[in-house]
Every structure is written in structure tokens, then in C-alpha cells.
Symmetry: C4
Subunit: 189 residues, 4 copies
């Protein structure tokens, strides 16, 4: 099967996810700075989640760019990734409306971790149908950045219960890691 | 008429449907497990509906993949399917906010049943314009999975008034049936 | 300029419009028929608006299908149409939450009328850049259905203040008129 | 990398942004003119923001039309633009629900200013990867309209604290400037 519709549907879902998050930023009732300022945690969380969803879209773009065809299993593997990403607005809202309390920050990390694992799974499924010797497989080998991210999430989640700011700092570090697009896939093209 | 725009519009509508359902998961006010746990029926219902809408997208993808061209009647037949799917967020919300009470669970089944019938109708309309001898027609013949699903829905809906969990179990069984993509259409390509 | 992106953007906007209307159908609090039944005007209005937005998508599809290229002016003419369509969820909600009171039903008709005029304007702009002798121009000539629709809206809007059901009946008649896709454009292809 | 998916994703995000703004127009409770009229600032703000988002979509369309290929950096530069645009519904809502008070009107201008700067940055990034001698670079040279817009925003934002209507008038003037599509890019094709 061609990959065009998988890309189009993923673009649509990710576009809606990244945009409806802004609905969490409820319009304040007052008109002065004092009524706007309490929104800063919501804005910060929105920014972090926007960057994260943006990272997933970028990486998805790079990954599918190196792909020739997809199968029925890939469609489900992709939906699995979109499922975890679709929970990002919920955990963003919960975290930011509670000033980054421990459990919401940890759950935010859990959703990031499960999204990361879903991306690895999608990558592996794509390698299976393209073959170990394919350009896709060679360009992924090692996947250090993916493994480091998952390790950092695994460390950050329990640390959220010590100091939620440590966990948030670690999430921000992972985001920075991925900010640079995945050159492994972009280069060989 | 070419099928590209029908696919693009369907992708857009299904992407919005699958994503706005998460807006039903209202952010809890507390920050402890005790305030998160009451959300489990909402989460479970979201998961079930995500899988169902995902199944429809997958099957729509497989079906249209085997299609050469569409007509004005197909556009309406497709909108008819999208109409019933667009009610999934509503019945999901009603069912999950009421802890799977009998009538909401039955109505959820009715929407699933009408969506399934709409998919059969769309398939038949496509076969009519492609001809009985077309590859599409041959690959659909029998459609055992579609008929079994409709039969199970018809049994599940009244059973919701006996025990709503029986109906939900039957909905989950149908979802599992379809989880495997429709190989009849995928294979001959 | 090619028309692909105009189609893609219009598909996206219309897909969001047609889907967010369902958010107006607020989940009822009870779980019995008595709590579901008061929703019938909301459901009926949703159905009517779904059909109307579906008609606009179908006609837009048919119109653009007969188009070769677009210009900067066409982009704005198309946005103008999308603007009026984007007000459909608002007037649908106002009308249905007030049991089809006179003013909301009239305003619903005004939005339908302005959408119809915007569609005529878009068609005329497309004819201007394709030339009077183009296939597009020939296939549109007369446009009886468009003119009849506009005349019916103009009659229905004041009648909403006499009996709102007369106006609604007229809106339904126009919808039925357009339910049959625009064969003038489909045929010559 | 080809530009198709960047366009598709941007279309999706902008389509959602332009459409969810209408959700800010809350359905009034009464059914007479007296209950509809208080909505005029919300409607006016919606119209202004619809035109602005429409302008960005049009300009994005024109800009990408002149582009051959994109890079990983372009993806981020584009997401940066979408981020500021995604805040338009929020500032529109804040401004209109407070009858155009000074600070909300100023913040609206800040979001417009940052969106304009993000568009300039995206344009510059595209010129960098296409080369100074490319058709894209030549068609942009000067970019008087972009510079004038940014200057007007910079003047309008502080003026919002003197009279918010002056700022709004200036925003409307910029919108009018851009209403005419960017012929510099359209022409040479």
C-alpha cells in the first residue's frame, strides 16, 4: 500500500492535537496584568507540549520520508502512536492547572514515555517490512537519541515525586535533544 | 471523478472525530490518585471508541485503495457513513459519564450498528459503479466479518438492558475481529 | 497557481466545521429516555446542518473538479465562502437550543443565504479567470438551482417570523434540491 | 525533502485555528435581538482574526508555491510561525470578551507582531537554502509590505494603552494592506 493516506491522516490528527491544546488556555476574566499572569504555568505547559508534538510530527515526517510502502500492521502501529499523542492535551491540562504538582507531572512523563516507545515500535515495524538491509534500517541503526530519551523519561518520572521541577527540566532536556531534526534519516537522501 | 478529495475529506473528518473525543476527558480538580481514578470509565470508553474509529479509518483506507473512481452518489454514501461516525464522541461521552448505564450503552451500540450498515451501503454503492466482475466486487464477496459484526451488534443492543457489561464485551469482541486489517482487499493488490 | 492546496485547505476547514457541530450536542445528565428526548431539536438541527455543510462540500468538490487553475483573488473568494460556512455551527446551536424560535431560525436562513451568495460569487470569479467560452462557464450557464435556492431563502427568512416551521420546511426543501449532486458539472467530464 | 507534507500539516493546523475561533462565540440564551446584539464585539473580533489567519494562509500558500524543497530547519521555522498563529484564538477571545480593553488589544498586537516576525524568519530560512540568486530570493527583495506591517504593529501596541480603537484601526489597516495577495511572488511564475 502507498503511504500517502497514512501521512495525510497522521497530519490531520497531529494538527488537531497541537491546536486544541490552546483551548485549555481559558480566557481570563480581568483585563489587567494581574489576571493574565496566573496563566504562566498554562502557557509554559502549552509551549512544552507544542514543542513535543512538533517533534513527533517532524520525526514522523522524517521517518515516513524514508519509507517506501506500508501494510495493515503499520496502520495500527501508527494509530497506536497517535493514541498516546492524543492524550498529551489531557495531561498538559491536568499538569498546568495544578501548578505542576507531582502526580500530574509524572503522568505527563508516562504519556511521553509511552509515545516514545510507540515511535520505536512503529520504526521497528517499518524496518521489518522493508528488510534489515534497507536504507531505512541502516539509517536507524543504534538510535542513540531514542534510547537516551526513554532512559531520561524513566528517570524523570519517579523524580517528579521528589521535585516536580527536576522532572520538567529533564523533559525540557529531551525536547532540546530532538529539536535538532533526525539527521540520520535526512542525510542519506 | 478521482477519489483523492473524497479520501482527503474523510481523513480530515475522521481525524477530528478521533481527536475531539479526548475533550470529553475533563481534567480532574485534585492532584492525587483518588481524583484521577474516577476517570477510568471515561478512559476505557475513549480507548474503545478510539479503536473503533481507527478500525473505520483502516477499513475505509483499504476499501478506497481498491477503488478506481467515485461518483456523486458515492460522495453522499460516504457522508452518510461520516454522519454516524460523528455521533461516536456524543455516545461515548454519554456512556462513560454515566458509568455504562443500560440505555447509553445500548445507544452506543445503535451508533456502531448504523455505522456498520453505512459502511456496507458504501461498499455496495462502490461495487455498483465498478461492476460485479471488478476486482473490488470479487475481493468483497461474502463479507463474513461485516455480517457477523452486524449480527453481534443486533444481539448486544437488547442485552445492554440485561447487563450492560455483556453488551460492552460484545462490542470489544467485534473490535478485536476487525483489529486484523481486511486482508481480502489488501491481498489481491 | 495549481488548485491542490485550495482544495486541501477547504477540505480541512469544512471537515472541522462539520465535526465540531456535534460538540453542541451536550451529553445529558440522566440515563433514561426522558433525559435523552429533549435533545431532539438539537439532533434535528445537527442533521440539517450536517446535510447543508455536506452539500457545500459536494458542490465545492464538483466545482473545483471542473477548474484548471486558481488565482490570488480566488483564494479570497473561497475564504469568503468558508467564513459564512464557519458561522453554521453558531446559528445551529442558537436555533436548536431555543426550540427553533423565530429570530434564530431567520438568522440561520441569513447564514445559508450568504453562503449561497458566496458560492455564486466564487463560481463567477472562477468563470472570469477561465473565460466565458470555457467548459466551466458552459456547464454553469443558467444555474437554475442556485437561483431557486436563493429565492427560497429570501422568502423563508421573513416567514420565520410568522411560523418558524415554514422557514425550516423551506430550508429542508432547498437541501433536498441539492441532495442530488450537480450533474451539470459532473456530466461533461 | 519535498514540501508536500509541510503544506498539508500547515493547512491542517491553520484550518483548525480558523475554525475553532468560532467556538468563542458562545450561543446567547435569549432569542431576541437584545440578547444577540451584545455579541457584536465578539463577531467583529472573529471577523478580524478570520481575515488575519486567512492572510497568513494565503501568504503561506504564495510563499511555499515559490519553494522547491525544504529542510529540517524549515520544518521548525514553520512550526514557530504556527505556534504564534495558534495563540490568535486565545487573544481574540480575551480581547472580545472584554470589549477591547487596552491590555488585551495590545497583547493581540503582540501576537500579530510575533507572527509577522516568524513569517519573515521563515522566508529568510527558505532564501538561505534556495540561494540569494534564486527566483524566490529575487521575488521577495525589499519586502516593503512586511516591513511596513511590522512598523505599524510596533506603533499600534503602545497606542492601545492610549485609545484601544486606534490600535484596532491600525490592525485593520495592515489587514487591508495584505488583503491584496502578494503579487511579487505570484507574478514571476
Amino acid at each position: 500500500m502507498p503511504k500517502a493516506r497514512l501521512e495525510a491522516f497522521s497530519d490531520g490528527v497531529i494538527a488537531v492535537i497541537i491546536t486544541i491544546m490552546v483551548l485549555e488556555m481559558k480566557v481570563p476574566h480581568g483585563t489587567d496584568l494581574a489576571s493574565l499572569l496566573p496563566l504562566w504555568p498554562v502557557f509554559l505547559a502549552y509551549l512544552l507540549s507544542f514543542v513535543y508534538v512538533g517533534i513527533y510530527w517532524n520525526n514522523h515526517h522524517h521517518l515516513l520520508h524514508a519509507v517506501d510502502h506500508v501494510s495493515g500492521g503499520i496502520l495500527w502501529s501508527n494509530l497506536h502512536l497517535l493514541f498516546w499523542l492524543s492524550l498529551v492535551p489531557f495531561v498538559t491540562g491536568w499538569m498546568s492547572e495544578n501548578h505542576f504538582a507531582a502526580l500530574p507531572v509524572a503522568l505527563y512523563g508516562v504519556v511521553l514515555l509511552l509515545s516514545a516507545l510507540a515511535f520505536v515500535l512503529l520504526t521497528q515495524c517499518l524496518i521489518v517490512i522493508h528488510g534489515k538491509g534497507s536504507q531505512l534500517a541502516r539509517s536507524i541503526h543504534g538510535d542513540a537519541k531514542g534510547k537516551i530519551s526513554i532512559a531520561i523519561y524513566a528517570v524523570a518520572i519517579p523524580l517528579a515525586f521528589v521535585r516536580s521541577w527536576i522532572a520538567l527540566g529533564l523533559y525540557a532536556i529531551v525536547a532540546t535533544l530532538w529539536f535538532v531534526p533526525d539527521r540520520r534519516i535526512e542525510k542519506p537522501r
